[in-house]
């Protein structure tokens, strides 16, 4: 006996779509934590995914990092020059890059490159029933596909952030060297004396959280992709948009929390 279809009211929409989504996302995340520590571990697949994450974003992170450092320095110079304080540039730039720019920009790049890729890859595996096929060959697809990718991205993102911080400072140094003729040693000495352990620690925590956000969003979207090629495109697209949005929200919260410790 077909029951009457749901009435299209705001309340029903909320109940069937928004709240249901939140519930499902929470379950997905809990499942991740339930399975990540339970053997058997998919070591090979995780290593392969680490390589993938690094390889996919390496070139873009290098280029963007260098340019960001250079351009940011260049743009900051006039306002410092007004007070005759261009000697503060290395310190200012280091703080900006380590505290904010490196984690944020790297994670946005990783969201664009890796997050969309995870969404599309798992999405197409889902719609062509490959995920189900893994299940019937008595493998746990969640572990093989989701856990490996989330672990890999969460671990690789901090590495990429550190790398970008370094490249960004290098870009800044090139610019400072051109204009103020500061030596390499002086630049980095000044730069590092301005940043604290808390800055670095907070950035690494941020990088871990953003990496987790990106990969879990990508996996969730792909894993729940709906039938058809549209489903795959949508999974990739939503993965990027949602994870970028979440990264900014998290940034806001984390900055507030970290400021309590300063």
């Amino acid at each position: 006996m077909p029951s009457t279809p749901h009435k299209y009211t705001f309340y029903n929409r909320l109940r069937t779509s928004f709240l249901a989504d939140i519930y499902n996302v929470c379950r997905f995340i809990l499942r991740f934590f339930a399975e990540v520590f339970r053997p058997p571990y998919e070591f090979r697949e995780t290593v392969k995914q680490c390589y993938n994450v690094g390889y996919k974003s390496f070139a873009l992170v290098s280029l963007t990092g260098f340019i960001t450092g250079m351009v940011f320095t260049n743009q900051s110079r006039p306002s410092l020059a007004e007070f005759g304080a261009t000697s503060w540039l290395p310190g200012l730039i280091s703080i900006a890059i380590v505290r904010a720019l490196a984690p944020l920009i790297t994670s946005l790049i990783v969201a664009g490159k890796v997050g969309s890729n995870i969404g599309a890859e798992l999405g197409s595996m889902k719609v062509t029933e490959q995920i189900e096929a893994m299940e019937v060959s008595a493998t746990n697809p969640f572990k093989f596909l989701v856990v490996s990718r989330v672990v890999a991205t969460t671990l690789m993102n901090p590495l990429l952030v550190c790398y970008m911080g370094f490249i960004g400072l290098l870009g800044a140094y090139v610019n400072v060297h051109q204009h103020e003729n500061t030596s390499f040693a002086a630049f980095f000495q000044h730069g590092f004396s301005s940043i604290s352990f808390l800055d670095i620690f907070a950035s690494i925590i941020k990088a871990l959280i953003y990496g987790f956000t990106i990969s879990i969003t990508g996996c969730y979207q792909g894993y729940n992709a709906i039938k058809g090629t549209q489903g795959v495109g949508k999974a990739a697209n939503v993965a990027v948009v949602v994870s970028m949005f979440l990264i900014f929200i998290e940034e806001m919260i984390i900055v507030q929390v970290v400021n309590q410790f300063r």
């Binding site: 006996m1 197409s124 189900e132 096929a133 008595a138």
Partner: protein
């Protein structure tokens, strides 16, 4: 293509379905279905597109949960099993997907090794290679071992799909439209393969098809789904030599041309 006689153990039902109901939201798909699949038997399931054939075998493999009714596979009630028990049961089930569902980021070899490395007691490289060669040889694709699925034709994919399920020597095979979209010659190869599998490994199979040639050549028994139930069941002749209009439509379409 005549089928050579097979041993069917009518006392021993490897799959037993009673009063099975399944619906999605407002769509009722299966409504009170009963089925016995005996040891060593090939049963062909016929039915119109959307009648719930794929849903039926997914229920058997425990991929979906029934709303009502029982499904016993190899003596176990599928929807009562713990994830671990279900995983063990699935080792006895081979599932050929309608779209083959090969892992497209892996080569044919890796596709075949995938169930092997995860589930059997640790094998040496050599033993694994031997197992992979054996099943690929069985489906006549040994030369494609290092190809990617994207480089294979539809029929080759189906055969690799069959090989991938055979590698764990399942007791029960579930074929979802094994000959759909294939040319007559490839189809007849697959039909031969299905019968060989039955003979060689003593498997019991559920074969979903719209292709009555395949149905006649592989099925020991046929069952026709109408309105979420099996409306007719028996040998090819028993199902089609009747006044049943649904059965007649099926038959007429498949054999409309007199050569």
């Amino acid at each position: 293509m005549r089928k050579s006689p097979v041993d069917i153990d009518k006392q021993n039902a490897v799959v037993r379905i009673r009063g099975l109901y399944k619906s999605f939201d407002t769509l009722d798909v299966l409504m009170g279905m009963d089925l016995d699949l005996y040891k060593g038997e090939n049963i062909v399931v016929l039915g119109r597109s959307g009648s719930g054939k794929s849903v039926l075998i997914k229920l058997i493999a425990g991929l979906l949960k029934p709303d009502k009714g029982t499904i016993r596979v190899a003596g176990e009630e599928v929807d009562r099993l713990s994830p671990k028990e279900l995983q063990e049961l699935r080792l006895k089930i081979g599932f050929l997907y309608q779209g083959s569902a090969l892992y497209d980021s892996m080569t044919v070899r890796e596709n075949l090794e995938f169930p092997l490395v995860r589930n059997s007691p640790p094998l040496t490289r050599k033993e694994r290679d031997a197992a992979v060669y054996e099943v690929l040889e069985n489906v006549g694709l040994a030369q494609s071992i290092d190809k990617m699925p994207a480089e294979l034709s539809g029929g080759q994919k189906k055969r690799v799909g069959i090989a991938r399920t055979l590698i764990l020597h399942p007791d029960i095979m579930l074929y979802d439209e094994p000959t759909a979209g294939l040319d007559p010659i490839t189809s007849s190869d697959i039909i031969t393969l299905i019968n060989e599998v039955q003979q060689k490994y003593q498997t019991s199979s559920v074969i979903i098809t719209h292709d009555l040639t395949c149905a006649k050549a592989t099925g020991d028994r046929l069952a026709l789904i109408t309105d979420g139930k099996f409306s007719r069941e028996g040998s090819f002749e028993e199902v089609f030599r009747t006044g049943d209009t649904e059965a007649k439509k099926f038959y007429d379409y498949n054999f409309i041309i007199d050569p």
